[in-house]
């Protein structure tokens, strides 16, 4: 039904996709797997009409199509269900489903037809836990996902793309999703299923395509591979990434921060020590509580019970004053004031808290190796790598004892990535305790002196320096070794 051939795409001279082929048949579930940065989301955005491909062809039912706008894709029968839902919380389910295409009778919106159609679609999916008139904001995340799926069906979508659909779901909600996917399949809808979780791939998909570094590695029927094989295909790479040498085993100093049975509504029973000179990697699937752990230690979404030494911060300021810093996952939304200058961003923490200071901005920028150092430039004009270095500079002004990194190299080019890794190692060598969250397994393994794996808000296990990717994945996904 859908065929993509020879798709290529570059951003700012960086090739993120090259020569990718992908096809889905009616009634097929085709999984797309790969690590972060493998090019999955770019590929999907091309299909969604968000980006235009530089090379390659897209055909639907044998006819070539080109999507210049998300609406074109919608009319072409492609529906994408993003991780972030496109729903209006204050409107009802039916109103959301038919937004922009409300059925009318004699010039008036036919409410009952709309609700009836929605009810039928819900019925067809076997969903009875909510009704078309319910407000979307009252629904659970899983139910909102159902609304997105119903919206796709109401548009007569024949190709449905699901981007990490289980990321935000609780364990018991995944079952519902499985059922939905099978129903769609029965109706002859082609499904592209993007996921990190291999168990889902084996449970649902007919075929699986592995992407790596922007290229397709292989496409195989799921019946012909097993977990180990798939993991090997995903991560198997030439060891061309360079990571700075780890700390000497046993050289870690005293614990600068300790958690004992710490928890809140997203985390439970966390026991963790962050020691001077050590980089602790935090692994886990999306939704496992990694970011929540960092935010809790940082006082942004504080722990509500358990112990944290030297103190359990109840606010960000308290944490900063206690020598804790956080390099957030979403640089643009949470890390930087984009329209302010490099200088203003770099000095933000010290100005806000009255701590640290004394170092000249020039000095700081040199220390984090921003090139060229232009303190008066607005941060939004910098590359991702330089932006991240500004965030780092911001924290270095107050010389924290503990620095938490959430996805430190997301959206950062290769050169800056290596520089950030070296900076992190340098900070640790100077006696800082570092905790690093990363979805990129090679980075996590390459950088960490030990790896703590989270699952469902609790620690699933701990691995010593240099674990295999398979070991981390198994702990994170909660699978017993086959």
């Amino acid at each position: 039904m859908l065929t993509m051939t020879g798709i290529g795409k570059s951003f700012l001279g960086v090739r993120v996709l090259r020569d990718v082929d992908l096809s889905v048949a009616a009634g097929e579930v085709h999984a797309v797997v790969g690590e972060n940065g493998a090019g999955k989301s770019t590929l999907m955005k091309i299909l969604a009409g968000v980006h235009a491909p530089d090379e390659g062809r897209i055909e639907i039912d044998g006819g070539p199509v080109s999507f210049g706008h998300p609406l074109d894709a919608q009319r072409g029968g492609v529906a994408i269900i993003y991780q972030e839902f496109n729903l209006l919380p204050e409107r009802s389910v039916a109103e959301n489903v038919f937004l922009g295409r409300e059925p009318v009778r004699r010039g008036l919106v036919d409410r009952s037809a709309m609700e009836k159609a929605t009810a039928e679609l819900l019925d067809g999916l076997g969903v009875h836990s909510f009704r078309p008139r319910d407000l979307v904001r009252r629904l659970s995340v899983a139910q909102q996902q159902v609304v997105e799926i119903v919206k796709a069906l109401s548009q007569n979508a024949r190709i449905v793309v699901m981007d990490e659909p289980t990321a935000a779901l609780a364990e018991h909600e995944v079952e519902l999703l499985y059922r939905l996917v099978r129903r769609l399949q029965e109706r002859g809808i082609a499904i592209l299923y993007i996921s990190h979780r291999l168990r889902e791939v084996f449970d649902l998909a007919d075929r699986v395509t592995v992407l790596k570094d922007g290229a397709r590695v292989t496409t195989v029927p799921t019946a012909e591979v097993d977990t180990d094989e798939l993991v090997r295909l995903m991560v198997g790479r030439e060891l061309r990434d360079y990571y700075p040498p780890r700390a000497e085993p046993g050289s870690a100093g005293e614990a600068l921060l300790s958690l004992r049975k710490a928890g809140n509504d997203r985390l439970r029973d966390i026991d963790l020590d962050l020691r001077a000179g050590e980089i602790v990697g935090i692994a886990g699937l999306q939704g496992s509580g990694r970011t929540e752990l960092a935010k809790a230690i940082f006082g942004a979404e504080p722990f509500t019970h358990g112990e944290m030494t030297p103190l359990r911060p109840r606010s960000v300021r308290a944490a900063v004053r206690a020598g804790i810093g956080l390099v957030t996952e979403d640089r643009k939304a949470e890390g930087l004031a984009l329209r302010q200058s490099v200088r203003d961003n770099a000095l933000l923490v010290t100005r806000a808290t009255g701590r640290g200071g004394g170092r000249s901005v020039k000095d700081l920028l040199a220390a984090v190796r921003i090139s060229p150092p232009r303190p008066d430039q607005e941060v939004r004009y910098l590359s991702g790598g330089n932006q991240q270095k500004v965030v780092l500079a911001k924290w270095m002004t107050v010389a924290p004892k503990v620095l938490l990194f959430d996805e430190p190299t997301r959206g950062v080019d290769v050169g800056a990535k290596a520089a950030i890794h070296e900076l992190m190692r340098g900070l640790a060598a100077d006696g800082m305790a570092i905790m690093m969250i990363s979805s990129e397994l090679p980075e996590l393994i390459g950088m960490s002196d030990r790896v703590v794996v989270l699952r469902d808000g609790a620690i699933a296990g701990e691995l010593p320096a240099g674990p295999t990717e398979e070991a981390v994945m198994r702990l994170a996904a909660g699978e017993v070794a086959a």
């Binding site: 960000v316 329209r339 302010q340 961003n345 933000l348 806000a352 808290t353």
Partner: protein
Amino acid sequence: MKRALPIFTVLLVLLIAIAASNPYFLEPPGFLAFLKRAAPLAILAAGQYFVIVAGEFDLSVGSLVTVEVVVAARLIDGDDSATWPVLALLIVIGLLVGLANGVITTALAVPSFITTLGMMLILSGAVFLWTGGAPRGALSEGFRAFGREELGPIPWSVLILLVVGAVAILLMRADFGRTLIAAGDNRRAASLSGVRVHRATIFAFAISGLSAAIAGILLGGFAGVSAQIGQGLEFQAITAVVLGGVVLGGGRGSVVAAMAGALTLEALFTLLNLHGISGALEFTVQGVIIIAAVAVGAVRLPFRPGASISPPMLKTKETP
């Protein structure tokens, strides 16, 4: 500074145009008289700037100016010896009103548009409730000196304007100003960097209240006591700030440009008067120019809040 440049060009062109038809304008007394007239609005604009750059509005300054003048007249009642204590009281009133605006907006999460709109009703109601419907009493000579007399060749109000401008610039260069503008740009990033966003916002409102107190003192002296003295000033101040290239929604623009916006507005009034455009049509021209100025700014700047590609976090209004 780059973004502030257009307003200075416009101001310069207007000043040249005024001078062309009225050469007296170029002489020191002529120009100082212009500055004297413009001082209250420029001071209000400086205060309003702090609130807007933090991503809020202050609609209460107009009625606060009225309150200041009416209170002064009733309490002084022509008695020169009461001048200084009353001046101190006026400053305190301004600060308290601003403080109240800030606390209600931040702690109770009421959009500042509504907070300050309510404050506007409360202030004008309260002050006339107190005086019984119309201004009473009179200002003292000592009080009126600030608004209409000179120190040597230079009007007091111009001196005060310079001091206010200098303090505003220093504040914006200090840690407070830098963290305030960062919070206006990205509230979440600022608060995750340890900025006390609420406190900074409350300070901004207090500064705006203070500026209204100072503007009231100058206006009372300049124009005398009337119940309408502050009417519409809140909109003029906001207009001036926006003309200066400061963006509603926060995080962008300089205080100098905001004050230049106020001077531009006054220069515009002066020019229109010179060319015999009557008091009323002046408003029409003003309206066209404001829309045009902001539209030109919006079209040129790529990342404008409210533009089609802006993410929801840049929404200029708070969701209650």
